[in-house]
């Protein structure tokens, strides 16, 4: 092809890529919620887990500590930060020890007689009132006088203080200057975010909001803000992973470019060689963006990893060019084999689509589209761009000797037997557990961060992230009634030290029945006024002082009972709303627990209530979910394997030849598993996905080694292409294997090991090159 049409084609291609890019930037919505990468939950506990991962009250809690300046200044910073955050809707709950009576909205003040348990044990009769009035008189003569006197006219029985006491966390840190302080002298706060705990982006926004509110406070210079909690961790892990992946990616890209320059000694080849993968990537994202409402960030990351296979296509084309032959002719010769490789990889990924997991389906759409686009671009577009004349890599110095060396290696037919036996033995004797079920182990946090979290959690009495008490009933009021009913049982558990504290929904709002019972005990206005007059006889209190009290009682007596929906317009009601979840045909109440020492102690409670009250172990539920997820992937893999065998056998029209391709692949895959297991590494989902990528690369090696052209130059070109592929894969994934982040390390190690094993076993099991 002449220069002008080549330039036109290149321009058209680049314009297409540009259009795809524009399309993507306009349609792609990247989600960061980890849940879309989880399988559909099946058991009720798993369903609850999926809601709770990220949305439960515990996981949306951030622990905040301020230090670095003297105590009074810390206290005013704590007050200032709380006041500033309480104004923002992104933080439904901010507590710093300064119990704010305003938390009970003014419009609900008269409801105090229905909310407080006082009337459960006493009647609001003349002796009770007289006693209360006498006590208030004593208060007036005590140091508490000026604190209480403003409450007096409206609330002579001090119901509000009883409620404040009831709503203050059972175990709370030391209060100095009105705010919580840790034993290390830091001011402590608890902030609940509206953002889900495991949505790193939303959490990052919430955390930045806290930081900027803090720096905007006068006197915050020199003070230090310390954050902890699940949301903060997800942000840290996200940033760490991204940072390390970026650094590694940059280094390995440079290495990759250098490698290709050395291999092909042509900058144009290098630049054009990048086009098919770019096309594949963009096409994959574009199709995904069109097919799905939201694309998960993990899909993109995994997808690009898996798409690494596509880099092989241009490499094969570049390596298999011979002097004097046009690129078009070269690609025609290669195409049948390349097509087999592309088709089999696509078929294997199709199995992911059948898995039924949203994230995996996206992954399948992305990789299949990407591989097809990259393959077709290599076949139909790239050859027209490449320069007419190319250096024949068969003449690369040393290549011939290397090929001879490989050819002369002994290739015993029985080789698969010892390899298989070794792999089996290694798998059998490997230490530790086979599977990694703990999601947290893949995204570990620095130990000092975990220690800080445990320390702050202990000091604040903040709820456990692992356990929740689940209360199930037909409606929200049923949950409240159930919560009231189990209060004595919970008190017994608390007394027996099975746990440190619990926050039941009924602590904030009694059930309608209880409220009605309390309402019935309230006297009517005439009776109340009469009793008051008797009680006031002989006291120095002013005559009409308690008129606001009389009108509040009258309001409480006739008001409709307070429902969670109405209560939700106040800050306290918000806290209650976070604990009540509508799950279609029933309601669930979530009571947060702290310091669970004996999870089994809850079993009798579950038995007594017919499982309406049960302890939910989020860790166990998540592990069972991961196990189920893995089962699905394994099933998908099994189906993929069968499809692969069929495709290869069909393409090669021979089971013997298919054996030469598939046997090394299978053996190498098992060797990777065996080596990782012997090294004591439990296998995670990331290992499985990486094994699939390595398998895809191994398939290429085996296919090309198996191809016997009888032409020694062509054999050398095959070797050249394969070595370039192996080196580039080792470069990219070998770098990842050194990462400090287990997810990246899992991917890097598995793929590097895989590439090495696939290469060696493919060579050793390939049929002997026929001698000329």
């Amino acid at each position: 092809m002449k220069f002008a049409p080549r330039a036109a084609l290149l321009a058209a291609w680049l314009v297409c890529l540009g259009l795809l890019y524009v399309l993507i930037t306009h349609t792609l919505v990247v989600g960061t919620d980890l849940r879309s990468f989880m399988p559909a939950p099946t058991t009720p506990d798993q369903k609850l887990l999926m809601d709770q991962v990220g949305e439960g009250p515990g996981s949306r809690l951030l622990l905040v500590a301020i230090d670095g300046v003297p105590e009074p200044q810390l206290a005013s910073l704590s007050h200032g930060l709380a006041a500033s955050l309480r104004k923002q809707p992104a933080y439904p709950q901010v507590v710093n020890g300064d119990f704010d009576l305003a938390a009970l909205d003014g419009q609900f003040l008269f409801y105090r007689y229905l909310l407080s348990p006082t009337l459960d044990t006493t009647a609001m009769d003349a002796p009770f009132l007289a006693d209360q009035l006498q006590q208030r008189l004593d208060d007036m003569a005590s140091p508490a006088a000026s604190m209480l006197k403003s409450l007096l006219p409206r609330d002579p029985t001090l119901e509000l203080l009883k409620l404040a006491e009831r709503w203050t966390p059972a175990k709370s840190p030391e209060v100095k200057d009105g705010v919580w302080f840790s034993s290390k002298g830091e001011a402590l706060l608890l902030v609940q975010t509206k953002a889900a705990g495991f949505d790193p982006e939303a959490q990052e926004a919430a955390i930045n909001g806290i930081r900027s509110a803090f720096t905007a406070l006068p006197g915050s210079q020199g003070a230090h803000l310390l954050l902890s909690g699940p949301g903060y961790f997800s942000v840290v892990v996200n940033a760490q992973t991204r940072h390390e992946a970026d650094v590694i990616g940059r280094i390995s890209t440079i290495g990759f470019i250098l490698l290709l320059l050395v291999a092909y000694r042509s900058v144009t080849s290098l630049l054009f060689g990048a086009l098919p993968v770019a096309t594949g990537g963009l096409a994959g994202i574009a199709v995904m963006a069109l097919c799905f409402r939201e694309v998960h960030g993990i899909t993109l990351a995994f997808g690009f990893t898996l798409l690494g296979v596509a880099q092989e296509y241009p490499i094969r084309l570049l390596s298999h060019r011979r002097a004097g032959e046009t690129a078009l002719a070269s690609v025609r010769g290669l195409w049948p084999l390349l097509m087999t490789a592309i088709a089999s990889a696509c078929i294997a990924y199709l199995a992911f689509y059948a898995s039924g997991v949203g994230g995996l389906q996206q992954l399948a759409v992305f990789t299949i589209t990407g591989l097809l686009a990259a393959g077709l671009a290599t076949r139909y577009l790239l050859p027209h761009l490449l320069p007419e004349r190319a250096r024949d890599v068969a003449t690369t110095p040393g290549l011939a000797r290397l090929r001879t060396f490989f050819d002369e290696l002994p290739r015993p037919r029985w080789l698969p037997v010892p390899i298989a036996l070794a792999a089996a033995a290694m798998l059998y004797f490997a230490p530790g557990s086979f599977w990694e079920n703990n999601l947290a182990a893949l995204t570990p946090l620095p130990t000092d961060m975990l220690m800080t979290d445990a320390r702050l959690r202990g000091e604040l009495g903040a709820p456990d992230v692992r356990y929740l008490l689940v209360l199930q009933a037909r409606d929200a009021d049923g949950v409240l009634a159930l919560s009231e009913r189990i209060e004595p049982d919970i008190d017994k558990l608390l007394a027996g030290k099975a746990l440190d504290s619990v926050e039941l929904p009924s602590r904030y709002l009694p059930s309608a029945a209880t409220q009605k019972a309390r309402q019935a005990k309230l006297p009517d206005t005439t009776a109340l006024e009469e009793m008051l007059a008797t009680g006031l006889k002989g006291t120095p209190f002013k005559k009409d002082l308690f008129a606001p009290f009389v009108s509040d009682v009258a309001a409480a007596r006739s008001a409709p009972v307070l429902t969670p929906e109405r209560f939700a317009s106040s800050p306290l009601g918000q806290r209650l709303s976070a604990m009540l979840v509508n799950r279609g045909d029933h309601w669930v109440g979530l009571a947060t627990l702290s310091g669970v020492h004996d999870a089994d102690a809850f079993a009798p409670l579950a038995a007594k209530t017919g499982d309406a009250v049960r302890l939910l172990d989020l860790k166990q539920a998540s592990e069972s979910l991961v196990a189920e997820y893995r089962t699905r992937i394994l099933k998908a893999l099994a189906v993929a394997t069968l499809l692969l065998v069929a495709t290869i056998a069909f393409a090669l029209r021979s089971f013997r030849r298919a054996w030469h391709v598939l046997a090394p692949m299978t053996l190498a895959t098992f060797m990777v598993l065996a080596v990782e297991r012997v090294a004591g590494i439990p296998l995670s989902l990331f290992h499985l996905v990486s094994l699939i990528l390595a398998g895809g690369l191994g398939l290429h090696y085996a296919l090309f080694f198996e191809r016997d052209t009888g032409d020694p130059d062509e054999q050398r070109r095959t070797l050249h292409a394969t070595i370039v592929c192996v080196l580039s894969a080792l470069l990219v994934f070998g770098m990842l294997a050194w990462s400090s982040i287990p997810v990246l390390r899992a991917i890097g190690l598995t793929v590097s090991l895989g590439v090495a094993f696939h290469f060696c076993i493919s060579i050793l099991m390939a049929p002997h090159a026929s001698k000329e």
């Binding site: 004593d138 003569a141 140091p143 009105g178 120095p540 002013k542 005559k543």
Partner: protein, 206 residues
């Protein structure tokens, strides 16, 4: 800026302004534990007539203060650090944070500083003004913290020689508590009025 600094400096440094006051405050110091009986009359907008109580006030050293009421009902309030604990006969003790009751903080500050003879501590929390009239003296303490001053406008301590006789706490809303101290504690009239008590305190013995 300079003006503000100078102002802050002069108000927070009673030593420069009132050497006389410092000498007086130093002379009031007593070794802990120091106890004195009291009789209090409280004039409040929620009350038709003043509420009278009596008992003993004790400074136990550092920031520990005990206020024991013997009449009309037995009650003991203890301030330790940031916590106030109230114990009444036949009731379980009740405690709250000192920060919820700023007037208590003021009481503690003034009391501890006076009994400790600690003029600089007194100067930190209050603007101190001394008036003398013959044998009699009167220390007016105005809280420096504007938030506190809103609730407690000032405390006036009256005395003779090195003996405080009265403590008058004037609250922001007009309520007043007048405590007769030491020997004067027995002199509480049956139906006290503000005027009569002030006269008693300033030594104009009827």
């Amino acid at each position: 800026m300079t003006m503000a600094l100078m102002l802050a400096w002069t108000t927070s440094s009673p030593a420069a302004q009132a050497p006389d006051a410092n000498a007086l405050i130093a002379s009031l110091g007593r070794p802990a534990p120091a106890r004195t009986s009291f009789a209090e009359a409280r004039f409040s907008s929620v009350l038709d007539k003043p509420l009278v109580s009596s008992g003993e006030l004790a400074w136990l050293g550092q920031d520990q203060l005990e206020r024991r009421v013997d009449a009309p009902h037995k009650e003991t309030s203890t301030i330790t650090g940031d916590k106030v604990t109230q114990t009444r006969e036949g009731k379980s003790p009740r405690s709250f944070s000192l920060s919820r009751a700023p007037q208590l903080k003021v009481l503690l500050d003034s009391f501890v500083a006076l009994l400790g003879g600690d003029a600089s501590r007194l100067g930190e929390a209050f603007t101190v003004q001394l008036n003398r009239e013959g044998e009699h003296w009167s220390l007016a303490l105005t809280p420096t913290d504007a938030k506190v001053a809103k609730q407690i406008s000032r405390i006036v301590v009256d005395g003779q020689g090195n003996e405080p006789r009265c403590m008058r706490m004037e609250e922001g809303d007009g309520d007043t508590a007048i405590d007769l101290l030491g020997p004067l504690a027995t002199k509480m009239p049956g139906e006290p009025t503000r005027e009569a008590l002030v006269a008693l305190c300033t030594g104009a013995t009827p």
